[in-house]
């Protein structure tokens, strides 16, 4: 599992874990940032922050600090036992 901001550009990855402050984490999950969902890092703002992400066909921008509370794994590098829960 790696932090979201370390992803290669335009390479879809799968969310493994969503962390962070409670209300922000809840808001992210409500938008569909859930274990099992596919997320793509599309770009980074000119000054290095925030990130431009694609999730379920929508585009969102998060700062690195919060994005890195989201653990992802690149396709092909899937761990044997993923802690993914109900959502697939």
């Amino acid at each position: 599992m790696v932090p979201l901001s370390s992803l290669a550009l335009r390479q879809p990855a799968r969310i493994v874990d969503v962390g962070g402050g409670r209300s922000f984490r809840r808001r992210l999950m409500e938008l569909g940032f859930l274990p099992g969902a596919e997320v793509t890092l599309l770009g980074v703002a000119p000054m290095g922050d925030p990130l431009d992400l694609e999730l379920r066909g929508c585009r969102y921008s998060l700062r690195r600090a919060e994005a890195d509370a989201i653990g992802v794994e690149q396709h092909g590098a899937r761990a044997a036992a993923s802690p993914a829960t109900s959502s697939a």
């Binding site: 209300s23 000119p46 925030p50 585009r59 921008s61």
Partner: protein, 720 residues
């Protein structure tokens, strides 16, 4: 029945075209206000359905009912009819047809609460063009409530939507259906227990409100009116769950999304990158995106400045003509003065803002509706974060260089109240165009025209550029300080949606623009008008002041001695006006505050100028004209006024207005809140006098201390 028509609420995610739909169905009859207690805009209007009209309420855009702030809570209040809001009979959920899944999360929450719902798939034309339009009848079958495809832009589906709402209005059960998602048994038990203990009303609603509280209430939320016992119960439930190793948020939200995903509504994504993605490769590119951003902002700024200029001149000319006409009609005297200098001047002071307000909201409307505004926030977030401001504060801050009044109105683009207030508190520090004449007058009068620093850099140009850099720097410092002190609050992380680019609709933009203008004139305008009349009275009364000369006799003598006596009469008029102003309450106020101003290098004449400048900063120039006895018909380029300023001497014969006094005065103007219109519009936007009072106090103190430091330091360094 006609007095109290049934209420229908219009809810939905942000960026779903909800406002366009609202405008489309209500036509031109919308009313705007605020939700009580929070400055969140509340639009309502009438919508004609087949069996009579309903009152349609525009609920602020939300991804979910769960809330952490009072502003987000507004959606819950409006939908459930809490806290003084009448309960809507039907909730129309606007769903972006190109983004159905995420939007259905909110629909599910409403179904769960057993609220009568009509789902409308907006942007159906766009979804079809992109090949992602879901099957409405299949969706209706899956949800169990009416689903109507519409396009607010083309007008497609409006009759069908009105029919569907009408049907549900008269048969609410047609809009109710059991939501398909299921929670784990442990959570069900928690919700049932919570509902039994704290919630009232029918079971489904009690359950929905319990779920809402479970997701929303925590130690650091900023919600209003959540009873203490609800807080205690929710905390107890959450802690018990945590102790058992459960994740309540994941249980609720994960279960909901599991159902959404199982609906399998996802249409095959069109091959290749979308139009928006292709555009963004350029507009968000580290280099080209930066260049495009600079060009866009330069155009916004230039437009605000140059396009508004002729319109402002037009307003001023119109009021000048009106004033002259009134003077020609009314007998000379107090009544004519009151009508022209008080009332007409006051109306002029209000309407003179309209060109910039209209232009800014026209440009802002295009920026928002095209989707570029979110990109602006994305591009500048890193820099704005450094001083604790939101990325969306950039455009209001930039507009502040033109005028703080429209810029403060533009802070509505920020969602959080704290972000809005912080931006409002620092925008007036940006050097607005009304300060320019003051700077020009002082620089041209008190600095040598051919002066060079180190033999190369022109003094006058440097002083002007310096003032702009200084004000910008102070605004950023103030943002940093206020954000950590007075407006300190829990850090809310950035979450921006970058919506697809869409062609803005002129009608929607113009409507938003007209709405802002109307609100400004009716709400801030009355305060500005009142202040203008008060200021006029301050500088006019008392009428009887001791004069050094009998000016009427002097004028008669002058005309008896020389045939064309216009010039000498004008000189005498100006001198009389100067003495009358000195004797007025405003003049006495200038005298009274002289001891406070003396450590800054200012005399009572500048004090009177500052009183007059409260009407608008540029009025300083004409007030100084009157005080200095050269008449009010002066501008910043007026040679007689410049001469008089240079010629003023102290009792010891040295010049009174030195370059050091000039710098001190410019610093004062840069930092003080010398503008009643700014205060009036802050009152309107913050919903009370508290924040304008704070703004005035902090800026005045800051201005005084800075000018004090400049003047006293300058004297220590040997300047006069």
């Amino acid at each position: 029945m006609s007095a109290n028509p049934p209420r229908v609420a219009l809810a939905g995610n942000p960026n779903t075209g909800k406002t366009s739909l609202f405008n489309r169905v209500t036509g031109a009859n919308a009313r705007v206000g605020n939700y009580p207690g929070v400055t969140v805009e509340r639009q309502s209007g009438f919508w004609r359905l087949p069996r009579g009209s309903v009152e349609l309420i525009d609920v602020p855009g939300a991804y979910s009912l769960a809330a952490r702030s009072a502003e987000e809570q507004v959606a819950v209040r409006a939908i459930f009819g809490l806290d003084g809001e009448a309960r809507p009979s039907v909730v129309v959920v606007v769903v972006d047809a190109t983004q159905v899944l995420r939007n259905l999360y909110l629909v599910g929450q409403l179904l769960e609460a057993r609220v009568p719902v009509v789902v409308t798939l907006n942007l159906a034309d766009e979804a079809r063009a992109r090949g992602v339009m879901p099957d409405a009848s299949r969706l209706a079958a899956a949800l169990g409530v009416p689903v109507v495809p519409v396009s607010a832009h083309t007008g497609e589906g409006m009759a069908a939507l009105a029919d569907a709402v009408d049907t549900v209005l008269h048969a609410p059960d047609r809009g109710r259906a059991a939501v398909g998602w299921r929670y784990p048994p442990a959570l069900e038990a928690d919700v049932t227990a919570l509902a039994a203990r704290v919630a009232r009303g029918e079971p489904a609603e009690a359950r929905a409100l319990s779920l809402w509280a479970l997701l929303s209430v925590d130690e650091e939320d900023e919600l209003r009116d959540v009873p203490a016992e609800v807080r205690a119960e929710v905390t107890a439930v959450r802690q018990a769950a945590l102790a058992a190793g459960r994740d309540v948020e994941m249980e609720i939200v994960g279960s909901r999304w599991a159902w959404l995903d199982a609906l399998d509504l996802r249409t095959p994504a069109p091959a290749g990158p979308s139009w928006t993605d292709r555009v963004d490769r350029w507009l968000l590119h580290p280099l080209w995106g930066g260049a495009a951003f600079l060009i866009a902002m330069a155009m916004l700024f230039q437009g605000l400045f140059t396009w508004s200029d002729p319109l402002i001149a037009l307003v001023e000319a119109a009021f000048g003509w009106l004033g002259e006409t009134a003077r020609g009609t009314l007998p000379p005297g107090l009544v004519a003065d009151f009508v022209v200098d008080g009332v007409l001047n006051g109306f002029g002071a209000v309407l003179v803002f309209l060109p910039q307000i209209l232009l800014l909201f026209l440009l802002l409307g295009f920026l928002e509706d095209s989707g570029y505004m979110a990109r602006v926030a994305f591009l500048v977030d890193r820099a704005m974060k450094a001083v604790g401001l939101h990325g969306r504060a950039f455009v209001p801050m930039l507009s502040g260089y033109a005028c703080a009044v429209p810029a403060i109105m533009a802070t509505r683009t920020l969602e959080r109240r704290r972000d809005r207030l912080l931006t409002m508190m620092v925008v007036p520090l940006m050097s607005c165009s009304a300060r320019l004449p003051v700077y020009t007058l002082l620089i041209a009068s008190l600095f040598p025209a051919d002066g060079r620093i180190a033999g190369i850099v022109p003094v006058q140009g440097t002083a002007m550029v310096g003032m702009y850099l200084f004000s910008t720097g102070m605004a950023l410092v103030a943002a940093g300080v206020l954000g950590r002190t007075v407006l300190r609050g829990p850090k809310v992380p950035l979450l921006l949606e970058l919506p697809p680019y869409r062609m803005p609709r002129l009608a929607t933009v113009l409507r938003g623009m007209a709405l802002r203008a109307r609100m400004f004139v009716t709400e801030a305008g009355t305060v500005i008008l009142g202040c203008t009349v008060v200021l006029w009275a301050l500088l006019t009364f008392p009428r009887e002041v001791p004069l050094s000369v009998d000016y009427d006799a002097a004028r008669a003598t002058a005309c008896a001695q020389a045939a064309p006596c216009g010039d000498s009469v004008a000189t005498l008029d100006a001198r009389e006006a100067s003495e009358r102003m000195a004797g007025s309450w405003g003049g006495r106020l200038g005298h009274a505050i002289e001891p406070v101003l003396a450590p800054l290098g200012f005399d009572w004449k500048i004090g009177v100028g500052l009183v007059g400048a409260f009407a608008a900063r540029e009025v300083f120039v004409s007030t100084m004209g009157v005080v200095m006895g050269v008449g009010s018909e002066v501008d910043a380029g007026s040679a007689p006024l410049r001469e008089r300023l240079r010629a003023e001497v102290r009792p010891d014969g040295t010049p009174r207005y030195t370059p050091l006094v000039g710098v001190s005065l410019m610093v004062f103007f840069a930092l003080s809140a010398q503008c009643m219109s700014t205060l009036a519009v802050v009152r309107r936007e913050s919903g009370g006098w508290r924040w304008p009072a704070f703004l005035f106090a902090y800026m005045t103190v800051l201005a005084w201390m800075s000018s004090f430091a400049v003047y006293q330091l300058g004297r220590l360094l040997g300047h006069a």
